[in-house]
Symmetry: none
Subunit: 174 residues, 4 copies
DNA sequence: AGTTAACCGAGACGGTACGTCGCGTCTTGTT
DNA sequence: AACAAGACGCGACGTACCGTCTCGGTTAACT
């Protein structure tokens, strides 16, 4: 009954209760507990399913442009209903090991997709060789998450362009 | 009654209740509510007081070394009791505007301190001129928070050295 | 600050708090506690003062008529604001010895006034001699309080006339 | 959980809290609230159950003797644990409509039992015909409740004998 | 006239109980 | 057999008052 993610969108993560999810889903609480150990687990599964539906990393041959496209897509996602849920899950992960595992599992896939594209960039002679690509992902997405989670200033496409431009001398060839 | 931060350290942010804080502090619940609107507010005040006690940014004249020193100090802090509280506050900030304001207020000071040191670095000819220094802070601390909050891999001094080294071509002169 | 009896009238005895009395009286709570040990004590004093203002038992020479007049007056009192307070005090007296003393003190005066009139009735040859007059008071007022406190049916002047008529063979001479 | 009436006996009505009742009953507070709206409601139900267990009015054929027996029984009850609870309930009824309804409901049964016996007394030619029997009940029990609730003097069997003797000319034949 | 003490309003304090909410477990009746 | 429905023991919530306790500020009395 992932239609219960709707509650999370309507009321926010914190105000979403398992009781309400069960009621909204027309299910008994027990049934919920039979399938998921916690509220976070339900939403993680929801996110994973939705994620599988969404496709991978763009590849037009121009790495820098693709990174711009992809970060812009991610930001659009963060601005949508998904953003509220993702925020809540990251928050939950700070106090709940299981949630942290779920969050990490979700991120792993996205990071690996990104790393895959970066590897192609190296092959294409667009990305400096010898870089720890996991680190490159963090250099790019770190500022985004920092600004998005800590709300120090608005995060949008132009912000990410600034980030990518600033990182350019460190990452890209010519 | 900031000695109630001890509970947060012992039990974690989520398991810390205002009831327990009051009991530990030998105070009535009402007294707590008279002074702070929420658990987060108490801890934010505690963090701010402690922060005021701690000093500012190192300045040896060598910007890169100072950044290494400072990030290393911050990481040590994150590994200490403070880390658990800070984690909890950032989590709370995701679902609570007031907490978010407090977190932002705390961060602002640290960021401004960092920006101050970066400005000196520009004057000293160690940092590239023309950079948005707020952005530079995010380039440096973004990866740190990303990795620390999302727990994708361990964060330690050597990790931050990697980050600074990777950023070097983008930030530093020669 | 017996103007605080107004609160009792407005909100009922149970909902009247010493805090509210103090606020309404424009006094500090401490000042209230300096003068009275409890809410009941305040109201008892208020009742006593008001009682002293009201006069005694009617005496037209016709005992039966006087009893009708007096019971009717009492009932009118019970229907007024005083009734609500008196009800509350009697209730409080069930769980509070001090309140019980106050209630008994107030009643004593009224009962003695009634007994005084009854004694005159004996002298006048209207009341059977040899009766325990305290008991006679109870025979008359007992049904009234029973019906008023337990609310088994409406109490009004005609009810009291029935009571007096029914008691007549037991009390009055011809 | 009528075993919670024990608390009322031990501590008195006023000092009995729903919290303590729940604890003593080994139940959650919510469970108490699910079944009864207030402390008074619990005790009323307890009294009603106990009342159903106790039998009705004695009938030896001698009305006056039966009234003596019954009032004496009632007084013994008032002196027992039940007395404390009944006192508290009558007190509560003064400020609480629901409690008043409960008290009235309980009384109704007893009054009707008494009226039943009085009717037989009329048939047997022991009680004056033409009396409002409801009123007769009040003439008998009114003094008892008056004296018991207002504590103007001790109530005991000999007191009730005095009452019945005094009422005799008004009520009984020969 | 200046100082001092008593008393006051205001309201913070440590508590206790309130009535509500949601937890995770359990029982019951239905399909 | 799995399910919805929801009761259950529990624990924390945030609120209301309790009775006690400082606080300043204002009188009033007495040097």
């Amino acid at each position: 009954m992932d239609a219960a993610t709707s509650l999370c969108v309507e009321l926010g993560f914190a105000a979403t209760t398992i009781e309400a999810i069960a009621a909204r889903a027309g299910a008994g609480k027990q049934t919920i507990y039979r399938w998921w150990p916690s509220k976070a687990a339900i939403l993680i599964e929801g996110v994973e399913i939705q994620r599988d539906a969404r496709a991978g990393f763009p590849d037009t041959g121009d790495l820098r442009a693709d990174l711009r496209t992809q970060t812009s897509n991610v930001l659009r996602l963060f601005d949508s209903d998904f953003g509220a849920i993702w925020r809540g899950l990251i928050a939950a992960a700070q106090n709940d090991t299981a949630a942290a595992d779920g969050v990490r599992r979700i991120l792993r896939v996205s990071i690996d997709e990104c790393i895959g594209r970066l590897e192609k960039g190296v092959k294409d002679g667009q990305l400096r060789p010898g870089l720890d690509l996991e680190l490159v992902v963090e250099l790019i997405y770190g500022p985004m998450y920092h600004t998005w989670l800590l709300r120090t200033r608005p995060v949008n496409a132009s912000y990410m362009n600034q980030v990518l431009d600033a990182l350019a001398p460190a990452l890209f060839i010519t």
